[in-house]
């Protein structure tokens, strides 16, 4: 098993109700696996996932990225752009 730190921002922090949490996962778990677990835990998170990006240790990654013990996984909702 490995432990990762999950961070929520903006609308996702409102949905989750917490800014961060720790997650225990199997050694083979990917970013997508973590997102699936979080969607089960937090009602309402799932509908945002199609537009959410993922960052591991502050760099964007794809959903198939395998997480390492101690990684910081951030769920990145659409950023502020476009309105100006």
């Amino acid at each position: 098993m490995k432990q990762i730190e999950v961070k929520f921002f903006a609308v996702l922090r409102d949905v989750a109700g917490v800014p961060a949490l720790r997650l225990e996962m199997p050694d083979t778990a990917t970013v997508g696996d973590a997102a699936g677990i979080l969607a089960e835990r937090f009602a309402g998170l799932g509908r945002y996932l199609p537009r959410v990006g993922y960052a591991v240790n502050r760099s964007y990654v794809k959903a198939d990225c395998v997480l390492q013990d101690g990684d910081e996984l951030a769920l990145i909702p659409p950023v502020s752009g476009g309105n100006l």
């Binding site: 961070k7 903006a10 409102d14 960052a55 951030a74 659409p78 502020s80």
Partner: protein, 150 residues
């Protein structure tokens, strides 16, 4: 708040009003003939159901955003002959007319300064881990890009 300097780029995310004169002064250099500055400000707006905007609340994943803004400055330098770049982003509540972001770029010639500055704000808005929440006069708020009222 986060500050960091690498080479002649200056990146800052801070929770107080931006000082545009300082941002411009920081990129002045004898090697530069032109400085282009962009300042993003909170624009008055009325929602489709008639609510008036009073402010924007900006939130950043600071550790990541600072890295991203440094990377943007490096990428601009690879594309244009930039002398210095400063990017300063405000977080927290930004009332109408006030600045949320200021980007200053100096270059030997003005065309490069304009193009690099334009590319930096466009790319910052598309990529940087910074979000805004619309604060309405009736006390409601909405995360930009979502219909979820909180």
């Amino acid at each position: 708040m986060n500050k960091a300097q690498a080479n002649s780029d200056w990146i800052e995310i801070l929770a107080r009003p931006l000082d545009v004169g300082r941002v411009s002064d920081m990129v002045a250099d004898p090697a530069a003939g032109g400085i282009a500055v962009f300042i993003g400000t909170t624009r008055a707006e009325t929602s489709s159901d008639g609510r008036e905007l009073v402010a924007l609340d900006y939130e950043a994943y600071e550790e990541m955003a600072v890295q991203q803004l440094h990377d943007l400055a490096r990428r601009a330098r690879a594309k244009w002959p930039v002398v210095r770049t400063v990017i300063v982003h405000r977080i927290g509540r930004v009332p109408l007319s006030e600045a949320s972001v200021a980007i200053a770029v100096s270059a030997p010639h003005r065309g490069d300064a304009f193009e690099a500055c334009r590319w930096l704000i466009d790319t910052l808005k598309a990529e940087a881990a910074i979000w805004k929440k619309e604060i309405w006069a009736d006390g409601t708020s909405t995360w930009s890009g979502h219909d979820r009222r909180t």
